[in-house]
Symmetry: C2
Subunit: 417 residues, 2 copies
């Protein structure tokens, strides 16, 4: 099996200005191609350190992928250093120049500045990997059994060049396939999962089974290697079945992108719609569902009733409920969900009201107290959470996941409360 | 100056299940302490590879920080490998056991499983770094001039242990300070910025000036090293002033967390409120503003009018506008903003309607066509964007930033359209 190292070049990563999401993207893609990723390395815009990193990498991986440092600015050094390290001259590629000029004309609608032509210098005898999303093309070459791919740094350009160009180059190399299935569960802790599955997990090698703690769910990944996809899948089938049997209805899906996408698919299948009424989650349920293509088929819309008065005036929460129980209460959560259903005509409505912090509310509800409501055509439900003194964004994230869990339980006929 | 390497241990990173946000967090924190981060490395749950990575790292950095692999499960190998590599025995810390038991009782409300006690084994003669957010404590020790800090992997635990415990340990070590200022601009491309500032940037060493391309803004960082904070600041002052002068009102702030936070601060200062009416951004403006503590002082709430009918029924967009111009149009954007203002009584309201893709809308508006509206007490504005065939989430992100840019221009008396 081929092994790969992903080398990100960029001082902004070492300063913490951005996270290395490129390595995450490439890792997922390479694993799917049956290429095992052994290392990620990040190094700054520093030629000596980059050279040393490349020397180490070529001794421990078959495929080196660099990201970043291909742009038009003076600190973009990757090509020079890689070319030097692997004994290749940089030569001017007129066809790349033409592509850069075309990109400026058709996509940028601004005049090209001359420094952009630096991007037409690439190693001799390389495979050019054109960049339809930007001006810096990637390239690939092989020297002494090591394949080197240089890819642009801006994530949308990287993804464009990888998926359209680099993937095809790599597909020719691999002989073994890795397949994995992600089993996703909500409502259980990681230790509890390992208590239920622990001894089984320890003895497993191929397929292997590992847990990944997430802020508010548990994910298990079963991974198998084999000569063909079919053999790998045959190894995986009994493992995923066993995990699903042990964890029961905490499991919400296998190889699904998450609770929002699952809810979207369930609603679509049943030709049902939903709406939202959010207070402490401030629109995040709406944002997460509408981030998914096709949301318009099932999501009608919602109200962010951040200001208490909006709960009454827009959602129609009775004022005596607000006066008597307060904005953060079970009766308010129920009335918000019912109000959102009424306002939008949707079949289902989710609501959230709670205290995300950092301070308790004016009625002294503690940070982490959250009520999640669900109004359905036949009944209204409410889940009362005490999430404790966590960070504001963690409390919001957990609350959003609880809301989607309520909805998926209701849509699949499971007990909701 | 001390240099650091951040070593993340976890196969889930190499599989691409998560991004290495821990390295980003630590890099930011270490730079602020005057510790230069030279490398990030990611390695899987593999003792041989981890050992080799540690050997390389101790030869090129003064401070090694590991993240992950401290938990209770069998693939948590960091402590064993680090202890072996640095010639330390692991010894049982009864006071750590007491802390783990206490955490389960007070925060988890579930019985502790026995495997959690593995976390009480730590290297002999180390400084224990207690973990108030979880059960796996960190630790720190020094051997032969190299400082090793082991920190837990779950981000909220890492941040808790670092800020409360590890930071103090590191503060004792550093003798030089690094200070930087981030100058943030919206509405200009990276090449344009470099065209304006390029030659100046190339000759600068201390302070240095670098650009960071972001999806829809440009960030410049001026960095200075000196013996004291005052000297570093004196080096930085003329540079930031010059950049601000050259880029003019594209600059929206220095050392501000982003456009949403800037808008929040401006509104708070002026005792003004705002509201939102979102279609293609699906609640993301609301979500971004309410992610910030203190949002309730300025944000009244909003409507996610994803379904066209809600634009009329809830926001009061006249039906003849919707019939004649369609949901994605300038008149609709204006009416949505005015409707949100009316509905909430807020001083300002932002609206967004557009086509985020992947497909054109039913009136054949192309992907990337977006109208951003702003209703103020005196006038209503609209910005028409053609963002092209970008990814759905990029179009949403750009639209959200344009909305906040409209608001900050209006609040600071700059030309809006």
């Amino acid at each position: 099996m081929y092994t790969a190292e992903i080398i990100a070049v960029g001082t902004e990563l070492l300063l913490g200005s951005i996270a290395n999401t490129n390595a995450q993207y490439l890792s997922r893609e390479l694993n799917a191609l049956g290429i095992g990723v052994c290392y990620h390395t990040v190094v700054g815009d520093n030629p000596e350190r980059l050279r040393a990193v490349l020397e180490t990498a070529r001794g421990r991986a078959d495929i080196l992928l660099t990201t970043g440092g291909l742009g038009p600015t003076y600190d973009d050094l990757t090509k020079q250093v890689v070319a030097e390290c692997f004994g290749r001259k940089l030569v001017y590629h007129p066809e790349v120049e033409a592509g850069i000029r075309r990109f400026f004309e058709t996509a940028m609608h601004v005049p090209m500045t001359e420094n952009n032509l630096r991007q037409a210098w690439l190693p001799e005898n390389c495979t050019v990997l054109p960049n339809a999303a930007g001006t810096a093309p990637g390239c690939a070459f092989e020297t002494g059994g090591v394949h080197v791919l240089m890819l642009p740094g801006p994530p949308h350009e990287l993804e464009c060049v990888f998926s359209r160009e680099a993937k095809g180059y790599l597909q020719g190399l691999s002989h073994e396939v890795i397949r994995f299935h992600d089993i996703r569960a909500f409502g259980l802790g990681e230790s509890a999962v390992e208590d239920l599955l622990g001894s089984r997990m320890e003895r497993m090698v191929n397929p292997s089974l590992a847990t990944y703690a997430k802020p508010s769910e548990v994910r298990l990944r079963a991974t198998a290697r084999a000569a063909t996809e079919e053999e790998a899948e045959a190894l995986l089938a009994p493992v995923t079945a066993e995990v699903e049997a042990v964890l029961g209805d905490y499991v919400y899906g296998v190889d699904v992108p998450g609770l929002p996408a699952l809810c979207l698919a369930l609603l679509k299948e049943k030709h049902l719609t939903f709406a939202t009424a959010e207070s402490c989650t401030g629109g995040q349920i709406a944002q997460e569902i509408t981030a998914l293509p096709g949301a318009s088929a099932v999501y009608r819309g919602g109200v962010v009733s951040y200001w208490t008065e909006m709960k009454a005036s827009v959602l129609g929460v009775p004022r005596d409920i607000l006066d008597q129980h307060g904005a953060v209460s079970e009766p308010t959560a129920r009335a918000m969900a019912e109000g959102a259903r009424r306002l939008t005509g949707a079949d289902f409505a989710l609501s959230v009201t709670g205290v995300a912090g950092p301070d308790p509310d004016e009625r002294n509800n503690p940070v982490g107290r959250v009520f999640v409501g669900l109004a359905t055509p036949t009944a209204t439900y409410c889940r009362h959470l005490e999430l404790g003194r966590r960070q504001r964004l963690r409390i919001r994230e957990l609350s959003v996941n609880h809301a989607f869990d309520l909805l998926r339980r209701s849509l699949t006929g499971l007990p909701v409360e």
